[in-house]
Symmetry: C2
Subunit: 654 residues, 2 copies
C-alpha cells in the first residue's frame, strides 16, 4: 500500500517481489509496459523457456488488462556465464530489462520476478528500474497436497502449480493414497483405483500431463503412497494385503485407523515390488515418498501369525516391526533406482543414510535424523490445515539451532514443505486455504534468514494475492457467501471473522467425507486482511488521536457498519448458527464507536468503563460456529489505550 | 430477500424462478435436497435429456456445496402426453418432484426451473412444494454476441450458452464478421481468416462444437455474416470484393466505415455463392443472417463502374443498389435451403415474404415489415451495450401496439433478441455487461405480458445472479478493481457507481480495439444493487422515520463509509481520474449523514438547507471518468423529504 500512495507525487517506487530477492538496488526511472511489450530470448534454445515466455506475456496481459500485440523487444532473456542452479540477475532500466540466468530454472524464476515488478504507475503500467541478484536459500521448497481425503480434480493441481511457480516453490509433494482414497490408476493392480477411489483417480496419462506441466514450471513432482498405515483404501480391492481379514470399505471418517499392511507375509512385498516397479516408472523424479507415519499397531497385536513372525525375527515391539517393513520397502525403492522419503516415523537404526526424512514432529526430530546422516525437510509449523496466520508460519525456520545441530548436520537440511491436508478442504475451498499464506512459507525458504519483518511481509502478501489471482487462484469466498442466501450482511461478518483450523473443527461436530463443507467457516479465510488494517489504524489512534484523523474516520465507518450489520443477516439453516457471532460484531461496533468517541474528543470515559468493556469483549473470544471474531482486536487496542491512560498502565488488562 | 427473511419462522416459502412461470401454485412443505439426490428419466430416451440430467445434478452440487452421491430418486422426468413445444409441468411435493414435458426442450426448461427452486431452508437445502405449468410467450428468445469488434474465445461462448439455458433463452445469434474481424475459418476462402482476424477465429471444428453444445441446451445457433457493409475485414484478404481498390487493413476504430462490397460485379456473387455454400453447410440452423445494416454509399457513389451499372439497371439511389444486392443474396441463401434474416435495412419491395426482419429501429419499423408479411424479432430497446438498467429493457415489449399492427400482423412477431455489441467489452467484462440484465429481457420474452412489477423483477434478478454464477458467469469486477491497485476504497466507490454505455464512452475519449479496457468504468457494472437497496431504505425513512430504525442504521453505516472513503483511494494513472468522483461520494456521505440526523431526530433543518443541498448534489450528476455516481439517489430521497416537509411540497425540487 505504501508503495502506491506515493505514485502521483514521486517517481514510481520499486515494489518488492515475494519472495524478497537477496539483493535489489532500485534506481531512477521505470520501464513502460504497453501493447507492444515483447520478450526475446538469447542463448537459450529451450522449450521450457519458450513456453514460460508465452505464459509470462499472457499473464502480463491479464495482470494489466492490456491486449498485448508485441513487436517491441522490452525484456531480453540471456544465458549467463556465471551463477548456477536457480540463480538469476535481473536489470530493469527505462530502456529495457535484461534477465540473465545460466539454467532454465533461474530464467523461470527471473520471469516470475519481472511480472511482479509491474504496477500501475503515474502514466501507465510500469516496472520500476532495479538491479536484482537472486538465488534460493534452500534447494527444496515444497507444497504437499492431500488428494485422498478430498479428491482434487486435475485443474486444482494445475492452478496450484502455477501459483507455486509464482512464488518460486519447486517441489509438489502429491499425497496420492490414504485411508479415504487411492487416487492413481494402477495397470498392474487395477482394483486399487476401481474399488478404492469412488471413481476419483488420476489416469496415468493425467499423471504424465501433470508431471510435464510441473516440469515446464521448474517444479519436481514427488508422489507419496503412504504405507504401511493409512492404507484402508488399498484393502477394499486387495484385502489380502491387510493384517486382519476383510472385507474393507473406503474410510469416510477422519483420524488414525487400524487397517495396516501385513509386514509378515512375503506376498505383501511381492505386491509392493510390482507396484513400486510400476509407479517408479510412472514418476520420473529421483525421490519417492512412502509415508510411513502414524501406524496403529492394533491389527499387528491381534494377529497370531504376525506375532509369531515377530518372535521368529526378534522384532520385540511394533516399532521393530515397522522398522523391518520400512527396511524391506527401502530395498525395493532402491532396486528401482530411487531415493526414499518418509515421515519422521521411518527413522530407525537400519535406515540407509540417503533416505530423506520429512519432519512433522519438529526441529529436534529433524536434528536427530541429520545427526544420523539423513537429509531432511521441515514440515512442522507449515501445516496449512491448522489455519494459522501467515506470521506464525513465517516465524518457523528450517535452519536448526546450532545447539541441536552442527554445521555439517545443518547442511543436510534441504528445506521445507507446506502441507495441505484436506479433511476440511474441498476443491472449492482449497485455494483459499493454501494461498496467499503459503507464499509466506515460500519466502521463508527462499529469502535471506534475516528477512523477518512481519508488517513488510504482509505488504508483500497483499501484492502477491493479486499475482496469484492472475495465475488462476480463486478464493470463492464471495460466491460461497452469496450461495448461503444470508443477505449482504454476511460479507461484512465474514470480513470480520477468521475460520478455525482442524483443531477447532474436529471437536465442534462429527465430520466425515460426506459432510458438505458449505458453511460460513468454509467460506471465511483463516486471516482477515480487513481486520489487520483496522488494527493498524487503531494502534495509530491509540498512540495519538490528533494525528490520526483519517484513521478515526475509517474506524468509525467500520464500527458503524458492524453495529448496523446484525439486521442484515437473513436466517436459514446455514446462517442461524451465526446469530451470536453477528450479535457480538454488532455490540463490538457500538463499543468501538464509544471508544473512538472518547479518544477523539478527549473526553474521559467513566472510571472502569474500558476495563469493563475489555472483560465484555473477552467473552467474545470463544469461537462461534467454528470461527473466531477477529474484529475484537482493533476495539481492544482502543479500549486498552483508554484504560491505560485512565490507570497509567496499559498492561493491567492484557 | 423477503423470501429468506421468513424461513426461521415459517415453512419454506416458494421462491419464484426467473423467468416467472405462467402458473405456479405453492403448497405446504418442501422437498429435501441432500447427497442422495438423484434424477430419474422415464419415457424419454434422449441423449440431450440424459446430458441435461448430469449437468443439473452437477449444478445442484455447485449451488449447494453438497457432494452428491445419488441413490435416492428425488426428481422424476416423464414424457407428457399433452402440451407441446417448449412447455412443461413441474410438481414438487415433500415426497418427490415430477417433471412432465412432451419435448426435449420442455424437459430442459423444467430442469432449469427445478434447480432454481432450491434454496437454503430451516434445516437444509430444500425445494418448496409447488405446482408449475409453464410455456414461453414468444418462440424466439435470443442473445446476439458480437465476436468481431472484440474477439470472444470459445469459453466465453460456452458459459454464455449455459447462462442462456438457465433463463430459457433459445437462440444464439453469433455476429461473426464485421469491419474489425472475420472470425470463422473458411476452407474455400482461407484468406478471410488468415488476413482478417489477427489469428483470432473459430475453426470449423470449434463451430461444430459450439453448435452441439448449444443444441444440448435447447439453443439454436444463427450465424451472421454482415454484408455488404461492415466488411473491411473481408477485403484485407480479398480486396477485389470491395467497391474501391485496396489495399485494406483490419479496422481498429469504431463507427460506420466506407468499405462496402461491390454489388455490380458478377464475381462478388460468385464468391458469395461459394462462401454461402460452405457456411450454410457448416451451420445447420434453418436461419441464416446476412446483416445488411448501415451501408455507407460513399464507395458506390465514387465508383464509375458501379454508377454505370446502376444506371444500366435503373437503380436510382444507393437504397436501390442495396435492394438489388440483398435480392441477389436472398436468392443464394434460398438456393441453399435457408431462410434469410436481415436487419431493418434489408426491407425493400423485392424482398421475399419469408425473410425475417430483425429490428433495431423499433416497433414502427417492425410493424411495417409485418404488414408486408415478414416475420420479425425485436432488438430495439434490448441493446446491452447502452448499459441501461434492467428496468429499462423490462419495459420494452415485442408485442406491437394494436394501432400499428392487427392481430394477424402481430402473430408474425416471433420474439426478440438482446444484443451485445462489443466496442467497449472484452472477454473479461462481457459477462458483467450481459448478465444479469439479459435475464430481465428473457423474462419479458417468456413470461406473461402482465408480469411487469419492477421491484419483484429485481428480487428475482438478485436470485438469478447466484444461479448464473453457478453456471460459470463471472463478473470479474473485484479482481479488476484489485488490479488497479487503488486500495480498499475502490470497492466502496464501485458499489456507489454505475458505468456509462456506448453513448457515454464514444464522446469521452478516442477508443480503438487496441485501447485497454482496464479502467474503473470497465470494472463497474451498469447498475448498482447496493444503491438500489439504499434507495429503498431511504424511501422507507422518508415516509416515516419512526418505523425505520434498521434502515436508518444501515443508511448511517453506508453514509459514514462514503464520507470516510476518500482517504482510501491510492493514486496512480488508473485511479487519478476518479479523484473528483471519490470526493463527490465523500461529500454525499456527509450530506446524507446530516439529512439522516434531521429526519431521525425530528429536529428541523435550517430553512433552504435541503434545497441548497439538492442543488449541490445536482452538480454531481455529471459523469466523471465515464461513470455516474448512483449514490446520489438515496441522499436525494432524504433531502426531498426534508425539503418537502419544510415547504409542504416534495415536488418543487425534483
Amino acid at each position: 500500500m505504501k508503495i502506491l500512495l506515493a505514485v502521483l507525487l514521486a517517481p514510481m517506487l520499486y515494489s518488492t517481489p515475494m519472495p524478497q530477492p537477496w539483493k535489489s538496488v532500485p534506481a531512477a526511472g521505470h520501464l513502460v509496459i504497453d501493447s507492444n511489450f515483447a520478450i526475446e530470448v538469447h542463448g537459450f534454445t529451450d522449450a521450457r523457456v519458450d513456453s514460460a515466455v508465452r505464459r509470462s506475456t499472457a499473464r502480463i496481459s491479464r495482470q494489466t488488462g492490456i491486449p498485448i500485440i508485441g513487436g517491441k523487444r522490452v525484456l531480453v532473456v540471456e544465458r549467463a556465464t556465471e551463477g548456477a542452479d536457480e540463480s538469476y540477475v535481473l536489470d530493469v532500466s527505462p530502456e529495457k530489462a535484461v534477465l540473465e540466468a545460466s539454467t532454465v530454472e533461474g530464467a523461470l524464476h527471473g520471469l516470475e520476478t519481472f511480472t511482479q515488478l509491474i504496477m500501475p504507475g503515474a502514466e501507465g503500467f510500469e516496472a520500476a528500474s532495479v538491479h536484482i541478484e537472486d538465488h534460493p536459500r534452500f534447494p527444496w521448497r515444497g507444497l504437499m497436497i492431500d488428494c485422498s481425503r478430498h479428491w482434487m480434480p486435475i485443474e486444482v493441481i494445475e492452478r496450484n502449480l502455477d501459483a507455486m511457480a509464482a512464488v518460486k516453490l519447486n517441489a509438489l509433494h502429491w499425497h496420492l493414497s490414504d485411508d479415504q482414497g487411492f487416487r492413481v490408476e494402477s495397470k498392474r493392480f487395477p482394483k486399487l483405483q476401481q474399488f478404492g477411489s469412488d471413481g476419483h483417480f488420476y489416469t496415468q496419462d493425467q499423471v504424465r500431463h501433470i508431471i510435464a506441466y510441473a516440469r515446464d514450471r521448474g517444479i519436481r513432482v514427488v508422489p507419496e503412497f503412504d504405507i504401511p498405515g493409512h492404507t484402508t483404501s488399498w484393502f477394499v480391492g486387495y484385502p489380502e494385503l491387510a493384517s486382519a481379514p476383510g472385507p474393507y470399505s473406503i474410510e469416510r471418517s477422519w483420524g488414525i485407523f487400524q487397517p495396516t499392511m501385513d509386514p509378515s507375509r512375503e506376498e505383501t512385498y511381492k505386491f509392493l515390488d510390482k507396484f513400486l516397479g510400476e509407479m517408479t516408472a510412472l514418476f520420473p523424479d529421483q525421490y519417492f515418498h512412502v509415508g510411513g507415519d502414524e501406524v496403529d499397531p492394533t491389527q499387528w497385536k491381534q494377529s497370531a501369525s504376525i506375532q509369531a513372525f515377530a518372535r521368529a525375527h526378534h522384532l520385540k515391539t511394533p516399532d521393530d516391526l515397522q522398522a523391518y517393513f520400512i527396511h524391506r520397502v527401502e530395498g525395493l525403492v532402491k532396486k528401482y533406482g530411487k531415493t526414499m522419503i518418509g515421515w519422521d516415523e521411518v527413522l530407525n537404526p537400519e535406515l540407509q543414510a540417503d533416505t530423506l526424512i520429512q519432519s512433522w514432529r519438529g526441529p529436534a526430530a529433524l536434528a536427530n535424523a541429520a545427526r544420523k546422516g539423513h537429509h531432511g525437510i521441515l514440515s512442522y509449523g507449515y501445516y496449512l490445515d491448522h489455519m494459522n496466520p501467515a506470521s506464525f508460519h513465517y516465524a518457523i525456520d528450517p535452519q536448526i539451532d546450532q545447539q541441536l545441530l552442527d554445521d555439517k548436520g545443518a547442511s543436510l537440511i534441504l528445506g521445507g514443505e507446506a502441507c495441505m491436508w484436506t479433511e476440511y478442504v474441498t476443491p472449492e475451498t482449497v485455494d483459499s486455504r493454501i494461498w496467499p499464506i503459503a507464499a509466506a512459507i515460500a519466502e521463508r525458504l527462499w529469502s535471506p534468514k534475516d528477512v523477518t519483518n512481519v508488517d513488510s511481509m504482509y505488504d508483500r502478501l497483499d501484492a502477491i494475492s493479486r499475482v496469484l489471482e492472475s495465475v488462476g487462484i480463486r478464493s470463492n469466498e464471495q460466491s460461497m457467501l452469496r450461495r448461503m442466501g444470508g443477505g449482504p450482511g454476511l460479507r461484512v461478518l465474514a470480513d470480520a471473522s477468521e475460520s478455525l483450523g482442524i483443531d477447532g473443527r474436529q471437536v465442534a461436530r462429527k465430520y466425515t467425507s460426506l459432510v458438505p463443507l458449505n458453511r460460513f467457516v468454509d467460506a471465511v479465510p483463516p486471516e482477515s486482511p480487513t481486520v489487520r488494517r483496522l488494527e493498524q489504524m487503531a494502534q495509530k489512534v491509540a498512540s495519538g488521536p490528533a494525528g490520526a484523523k483519517a484513521e478515526i474516520a475509517r474506524l468509525r465507518a467500520a464500527f458503524t457498519e458492524w453495529s448496523a450489520n446484525d439486521t442484515q443477516i437473513d436466517g436459514n439453516f446455514l446462517t442461524s448458527e451465526l446469530i451470536p457471532l453477528s450479535r457480538n460484531l454488532s455490540n463490538l461496533g457500538s463499543v468501538g464507536l464509544r471508544a473512538l468517541e472518547y479518544l477523539s474528543s478527549g473526553k474521559s470515559a467513566p472510571p472502569d468503563w474500558a476495563a469493563q468493556q475489555l472483560q465484555e469483549i473477552g467473552s467474545m473470544e470463544k469461537p462461534v460456529a467454528e470461527v473466531r471474531l477477529a474484529a475484537i482486536s482493533p476495539v481492544r487496542v482502543l479500549l486498552k489505550a483508554i484504560a491505560g491512560s485512565a490507570s497509567g498502565s496499559v498492561e493491567e488488562h492484557k
